[in-house]
């Protein structure tokens, strides 16, 4: 078995095993469906409800990606600023860290007060959770530029802007792309939190409604969809990262 195949087959095998144990445990221990439905039952409900689930999943995806996109923009900007200027770093970095330590779930009610129930608070929550890793990674990439390299270029008459463009930016790209997969996961968490609290669409909303109806199967179905979406989003950005900045990973 090749190493590549092994890395794919082993976790899938463990996953299948766990699902099987779950499937068998539910009837074996006479667990009520309302407490913990069997996986087969959950999948049946998911198929029956495929239309609404797809609608809500698309809503969550769009919300996540809008918030993520805005976060990448601001994260890059802040990261470049903090990485390139010591003054900007001293002024902004403590604030960023402070801001990042606020549990974002606590911000959602505020956003709902301002923007009402709907997609806007979800987009904003996704944005608030996602920009920090981007900003920090980009800043780190710029701030750790080797002094020797800077000197080599400065004695050629290179300006700060040239050093930033020719060395700083490309050097930061692996960290930037590494931060994207973290950021997209964070954005996803943000939009689902907000949907759960105050929305009228999205998988988070679907799950909240299902839970209040004691429709445990549908709630679990929503969870499955979230897991699949989360893995897929992460996977897409991890793949992009490997393609774009392969030089940083070889060996």
């Amino acid at each position: 078995m090749t190493a590549r195949l092994r890395r794919l087959v082993l976790p899938l095998g463990v996953f299948a095993g766990l699902v099987l144990v779950w499937e068998l445990a539910v009837p074996a221990f006479r667990i009520q469906q309302i407490v913990l439905p069997a996986p087969s039952g959950i999948v049946r409900t998911m198929v029956q409800m495929a239309g609404p689930i797809a609608f809500h999943a698309r809503h969550t995806l769009v919300t996540t990606l809008i918030g993520f996109g805005a976060a990448v923009g601001l994260g890059l900007l802040l990261g470049f600023l903090i990485g390139a200027s010591v003054t900007a770093r001293d002024a902004l970095y403590p604030l960023l860290v402070g801001f990042n330590s606020i549990p974002k779930a606590a911000v959602v009610p505020m956003l709902v007060m301002w923007f009402g129930i709907g997609a806007v608070p979800a987009v904003l929550t996704a944005f608030l959770l996602a920009f920090f890793p981007v900003a920090v990674n980009v800043a780190l990439g710029l701030a750790t530029l080797e002094a020797e390299l800077r000197d080599v270029l400065r004695v050629l008459g290179a300006s700060r802007w040239q050093i930033f463009r020719k060395v700083g930016v490309p050097r930061t790209m692996p960290l930037f792309f590494a931060s994207l997969k973290v950021a997209v996961s964070s954005a996803f968490v943000g939009s689902v939190i907000s949907e759960t609290v105050a929305s009228n669409a999205g998988i988070g909303y679907l799950m909240a409604v299902a839970a209040s109806d004691f429709n445990t199967r549908l709630a679990f179905g929503g969870l499955f969809v979230l897991a699949a979406m989360g893995v897929a989003l992460y996977g897409v950005f991890a793949a992009i990262e490997r393609r774009v900045t392969g030089w940083a990973y070889a060996e």
Binding site: E148, D151, L153, R154, V155, K166, P170, M173, W247, A248
Partner: protein, 277 residues
């Protein structure tokens, strides 16, 4: 060979490649001023290589940065080609112990980086990428890296990377090459190969070299003049002319004269080491 006093200043008549007059450098850490260099006066004749040796903290790397214009001296004047240094020089090659190649660029593209910058800045020496590409490939050939132009830095050994770094420092044909312990991280045999390579390049290209090193044999092999520095604050303590002829061979480093000079320099460096401790 023997010790000489500092040459008298006559900067204007025959401009030296580098002329340093009464240069001091203070740096501030935590509100305390420390004098790193005190009253350094010396000349580097055009086309020669000088070496600075001395204990750690004697300010030899600082002196190199002052010459390059990367630091500004507290007192005194430094002139390169008869013009006083006020900011980073624009026609200098530099190489360090760490080769700092760009891992996302091939060997060739690493070499072309200085030219890209010169070209963007409208420097007439970097007219045409194609032309320079051929020059870069030829230069790689002279350092024994023919055919390596499309390899990635991570595929190269430490010695090969250091050769590329040296090529990058020379690709734009600088008049002045500044080397800060460029071979310190290499094994002994690779280091000796690099000395011979450096000598060959210097004889072909006639640049002026300033070398900072801990290695007395390296200084003897590469330099015509060796400045022995003492620490706290950094000063030029002794000056030695190395008269081993041109070109030099590694064999000459074992001659009685070379051995005697090496012993003298060791004795001169040792007391200032004890003063630090």
């Amino acid at each position: 060979m023997g010790e000489e006093r500092h040459a008298p200043p006559h900067v204007h008549l025959n401009p030296q490649a580098v002329a340093i007059r009464g240069v001091s450098y203070d740096y501030v850490t935590g509100g305390r001023v420390t004098r790193a260099l005190a009253d350094v006066t010396l000349d580097v004749p055009r086309g020669s290589t000088v070496a600075f040796v001395g204990p750690s903290g004697c300010g030899k790397s600082t002196l190199l940065k002052l010459i390059a214009g990367l630091l500004k001296s507290t007192d005194g004047v430094i002139a390169v080609d008869g013009r006083s240094v006020v900011g980073p020089l624009k026609n200098v090659g530099m190489a360090f112990q760490n080769p700092v190649l760009l891992p996302w660029r091939s060997v060739l593209d690493n070499l072309l980086l200085p030219l890209e910058i010169l070209r963007e800045n409208g420097d007439p020496r970097a007219p045409d990428r194609v032309l320079w590409r051929d020059k870069a490939i030829a230069l790689l050939g002279t350092v024994g890296l023919a055919g390596a132009e499309h390899r990635q830095p991570r595929e190269l050994s430490g010695g090969m990377r250091q050769r590329v770094s040296l090529c990058r420092a020379l690709i734009h044909e600088p008049a002045l090459l500044l080397l800060d312990e460029p071979f310190a991280a290499l094994d002994a045999f690779t280091r000796e190969e690099m000395w011979e390579l450096h000598q060959k390049l210097r004889l072909e290209r006639e640049f002026t070299g300033v070398l900072v090193t801990h290695d007395l044999r390296e200084a003897m092999f590469l330099a015509q003049t060796i400045f022995v520095m003492s620490a706290n604050p950094g000063r030029i303590a002794h000056v030695h002319q190395v008269r081993l002829g041109v070109p030099r061979t590694l064999e000459q480093l074992y001659s009685p004269e070379a051995t005697a000079l090496m012993r003298t320099m060791r004795e001169q460096i040792r007391p200032s080491r004890q003063a630090v401790a």
